[in-house]
């Protein structure tokens, strides 16, 4: 499991986090902490304000489609402590995915959340300006979803290496 050079241990973060925001953490691994999508603002605010965590900057925000659920991945950055915290939120409702917006804590989430909404169709509650960004208003689909093309028996991704013959992995 690759981990960034200065990434905090997920278990450690989870321990502190569950003490401060009880019930928010669902899963913790070496790499990341998984939190409840309804508690995003609480968790972020605590991570942002806590002196030890000091997650001053939302470095990166993106979504991953896992077929049955979505993951929102937050890479939080502490500039003074120089460490990184990876937080994930699992959205189980694949059809009407929705998560709290962390815009109240990080203004930098403005365009990143819009991008995720635009390309994955995940709704961010509390986002001030949630509109399509790259695609036009009224475009029916969300291209970064795995079921984008809706073709039966089509599995997005590369099934095997281009010049590899024979083996069918999946």
């Amino acid at each position: 499991m690759p981990r960034g050079p200065r990434q905090l241990d997920g278990h450690e973060v989870a321990r502190l986090l569950s003490a401060a925001v009880p019930g928010a953490v669902t899963v913790a691994t070496d790499e990341w902490v998984e939190i409840q999508p309804g508690r995003v603002v609480d968790v972020m605010r605590w991570l942002h304000d806590d002196a030890e965590m000091d997650a001053a900057q939302l470095s990166n925000l993106c979504g991953v489609d896992r077929y049955d659920h979505f993951e929102i991945v937050y890479h939080l950055q502490s500039l003074d402590q120089n460490h990184q915290i990876v937080v994930k939120a699992r959205l189980t409702d694949h059809e009407a995915a929705s998560v709290q917006s962390c815009f109240p804590v990080y203004t930098g989430a403005l365009l990143q959340e819009r991008e995720v909404y635009d390309l994955m169709g995940i709704h961010f509650d509390g986002h001030p300006d949630l509109r399509r960004m790259f695609l036009w208003e009224g475009y029916p689909a969300f291209p970064l979803r795995k079921d984008f093309l809706q073709i039966v028996d089509h599995h997005p991704g590369l099934p095997h290496f281009p010049f590899e013959t024979g083996k069918q992995e999946r």
Binding site: A56, S78, L79, D80, N82
Partner: protein, 471 residues
């Protein structure tokens, strides 16, 4: 070695012997011609003859004499009807007008090339060099392209008002050339209200530009038009004040008299009144919409300003008249402040109109230079510069000049003493008042010093930023 290396290596071009020989021959011929001309001039062989091209007025005078002889042969009734010497009158008028028109047309053609070459040189590139030798035919190609382009009229534009402005802009651009004093006897319209004629004629362009912007039905154009009007009206005041100083000093509004005054006193007004020179030049750049005051057609902000919607030859007219006006500004700077056609006695040797043209193109070159170098002001900065700096300071300077002129009337020192006193006083006043006024308005140079970035050795966030700031 790959071809990609070439631009990196400095290639020393060996001068070919043929070029050296050619240059030598040209130099020798030039020297011989100069000596010949000098002999002819000194020996007085030319004086008073029509082929004395140092003074084109002589040729005209001969022509007029001949025409008057012709005139005398005409029926008296015609003279009673059309006035005395009507043939020479009409011929002179037509010749002058033709001359100006020809000059203006050729000038515009050449300027397109000159400006682009100069800017190219300033910008370490070559400029147009493909069409014809040295790209000299580039203006022709440009004109051909512009002529055959479709002239688009935006939907919702007022067609009549949209058609008119390129023409209306062109007319004042042409008319101002009428009063240019080329040489002692080379003024087409040597009116005694030359200065106010100049101001009046150039002020009419404002309306045309405003119409262009308004009629385009385009937001950029409208913004450009609004900016133009605000700026041109504001800068007409310092422009007029600068010219007022000239008029006060020379006691005349006639351009030939102004030049003659400078010749008689062996001084350039620009030396006597540097502030007026600066004010006039800067205001002119504003009136011309040229950098650093080209906010009316600020490319990076409002695309092309008032002429965004113009295409084809309509755009060409705007473009051409802008270039023509730039040289006109050079000409008027030369006439008002740089001694016109005089060059401290050399004008008896060199044709004065060539001296004048050199000065005019010098002024034009400075304009091109500025355009190639400076960024652009913001509208509010420009306006506050006009209203808060130029106008009050110019007003005070006008007062000072008036006092000096009055004093000169009552004192009877030699010219040289008087004028050097005046020049020194004006220079000292300029330096003093600019500093004092800037301080008065709150400009503190020490507060404006350039802050270089500080170097951080330690990485960090907000806390580190605070530490760096307090340190």
């Amino acid at each position: 070695m790959s071809a990609a290396l070439d631009p990196i290596r400095v290639r020393v071009r060996v001068t070919s012997p043929r070029l050296a020989v050619t240059l030598g021959i040209v130099l020798v011929l030039f020297g011989a011609a100069s000596i010949g001309i000098a002999y002819v001039v000194v020996s007085g062989m030319l004086d008073g003859h029509w082929y004395d091209f140092r003074d084109l007025g002589l040729g005209m005078a001969h022509l007029r004499e001949w025409l008057n002889e012709v005139n005398a042969g005409q029926p008296a009734a015609l003279s009673a009807f059309l006035g005395d010497q009507w043939i020479s009158y009409i011929t002179g008028a037509l010749l002058g007008a033709t001359g100006i028109l020809t000059f203006f047309g050729l000038l515009l053609l050449i300027l397109v090339w000159v400006e682009r070459r100069l800017i190219g040189r300033i910008q370490v590139r070559k400029g147009p060099n493909r069409v014809g030798p040295f790209g000299l035919l580039q203006p022709v190609a440009d004109a051909l392209k512009l002529i055959q382009k479709e002239v688009l009229i935006p939907i919702g534009a007022d067609r009549f008002m949209f058609y008119l402005p390129p023409v209306l802009v062109f007319i004042p651009g042409l008319l101002v050339w009428a009063v240019v004093p080329w040489a002692p006897n080379m003024n087409y319209l040597d009116t005694n209200v030359g200065v106010i004629y100049l101001i009046a004629i150039s002020s009419t362009a404002t309306l045309a530009i405003f119409m262009a912007g308004w009629a385009s039905n385009n937001h950029y154009a409208l913004l450009g038009a609004m900016r133009t009007v605000a700026m041109m009206i504001s800068y007409e005041i310092p422009l007029s004040l600068a010219l007022l100083m000239v008029v006060l000093m020379t006691g005349s509004m006639q351009l030939s008299t102004i030049v003659q005054w400078q010749v008689d006193h062996h001084v350039w007004l620009g030396m006597l009144m540097p502030l007026a020179l600066f004010t006039f030049f800067f205001s002119s750049t504003a009136e011309l919409n040229r950098t650093p005051n080209d906010i009316a057609e600020a490319e990076s902000e409002i695309v092309a300003g008032f002429h965004t919607e113009y295409s084809g030859m309509k755009f060409g007219l705007f473009y051409a008249v802008e270039l023509g006006n730039a040289v006109a500004v050079g000409a008027f700077v030369a006439a008002f402040f740089l001694g016109g056609w005089s060059l401290f006695g050399l004008e008896t040797w060199i044709p004065p109109y060539l001296i004048f043209a050199a000065k005019a193109f010098g002024g034009y070159f400075v304009l091109v230079w500025l355009r190639g170098t400076l960024p652009r002001f913001r509208l509010d900065q420009l306006m506050s510069f006009a209203w808060k700096y130029l106008i009050p300071i110019s007003l005070l300077q006008v007062l000072l000049v008036a006092i000096e002129v009055t004093a000169m009337r009552y004192m009877h020192f030699p010219d040289f003493v008087e004028l050097s006193l005046v020049g020194a006083a004006n220079l000292a006043f300029t330096i003093f008042i600019v500093r004092a006024w800037a301080t008065f308005l709150g400009y503190r140079p020490e507060r404006e010093q350039v802050l270089k970035p500080t170097m951080a050795k330690q990485m960090g966030g907000l806390r580190a930023a605070e530490e760096m700031r307090t340190r």
